[in-house]
Amino acid sequence: MSGAASVDVKQAGWDGAKSPLRASHGKLFMWFFLISDALTFSGFLSAYGFFRHRYAGEWPIPSTVFHHFPFLEGHHLPLLYVGLMTFILIMSSVTMVLAVEAGHRKNKRQVLVWMFATIIGGLMFVGSQAWEWSNFIKGSDQGAILYQNQMYLYKINHETHKPELNVLIYKGQEVSAAKTAIVKRDGQEFHGANLQHNEYGHTGFADFFFFITGFHGFHVFSGVCINITIFIMVLNGVMEKRGHYEMVEKVGLYWHFVDLVWVFVFTFFYLL
């Protein structure tokens, strides 16, 4: 392109002569989709924050709920497993961006290697989440007592992390001895959590947990599916024929977004 032509372009301004964003349609619309998706997740997490403050007294402390680690049953290890999950997702984000970088150099072999690593990381994450869910649904050994459709929790000793079986808590308040006796006699044992009941505290915690981590997990799952599709396309040489690997970049944007959402879910669900 000669210098004179570019002067023409600048003078032409906005008459369809000059692209202001210098990006392809596909990439821009992936960004716009991600913004709308980010707004959805922001709505969910804000609603979670609202409920968490609204029912602060009876909201479960995450470290008393999620303290399991595979092959280390019976130990109190809060945050470690979810920290590992975060590490897996950040790692798969790095392998994804390395695949994008290899695509910029049109190196088919490296794109395939890094994309394969990303798919493995995504599957590991979905598996970890399934394990986390099953632990939450199964619940603790002592459980809680369901009496007249209300949940009475055992008080947890914060030194030993063991439940005190003679002290009951209802809506954040300790229950009197007389009431405790009645509840223990007539109530029934309840373990774990579902959409109606939650042995760890307010039911809203279980509802939000299933809904938000489920929605995020579905994003990871669909991301893995799209990654596999693009992996097969790269394998068949579709991108080579096109002369560029922008599809890898676009699916990379989606994958990083999934990682981004998890960073926020991790903070709001497990740390705060």
Binding site: P20, L21, R22, K27, G43, L79, V97, R105, H256, L272
Partner: protein, 137 residues
């Protein structure tokens, strides 16, 4: 020659680079990875030790949310290559989202949050007001 007289007709190949540039790009990516990993490790450690260290919940909120926004910035800016886009692309992506979120947080905390705290009758704090209030006929 495209009909739009565009100096960059193939946006898809704009981002392509050679081996030398790729080396620099990869170095930057790994740097960001280590940064994210260290921040996450610090967060997990503080999260585990917070009850023993006696850190206040207000401090933890600012600490965790601050670090989360730092992590989000690096993921968007480096991993999603937003830093390499045009200036207007950055504005179009970041500005509307930030505006909506600030408005949402504002309404949640100042608007609805205050209402729920001081007015709603199903809030345990307000049950006294309900009992003393005259009954509707």
């Amino acid at each position: 020659m495209s009909e739009f007289n565009d100096p960059f007709p193939n946006y898809e190949v704009l981002a392509q680079h050679d081996e030398a540039h790729g080396k620099i790009a990869r170095k930057k990516l790994w740097k960001v990875f280590w940064l994210l990993l260290i921040i996450t490790l610090v967060e997990v450690m503080v999260g585990i030790m917070a009850p023993q260290w006696g850190l206040s919940h207000l401090f933890l909120k600012f600490f965790f949310i601050g670090f989360t926004i730092v992590k989000a910035f690096y993921i968007v800016y480096t991993f999603m290559h937003l830093g390499e886009e045009e200036r207007w692309t950055k504005w179009i992506i970041i500005a509307p989202f930030t505006g909506f979120i600030l408005y949402l947080i504002f309404m949640m905390t100042i608007g609805e949050g205050n209402y729920a705290k001081t007015r709603r009758i199903d809030n345990p704090i307000n049950t006294e007001n309900v009992q003393s209030a005259p009954e509707h006929k």
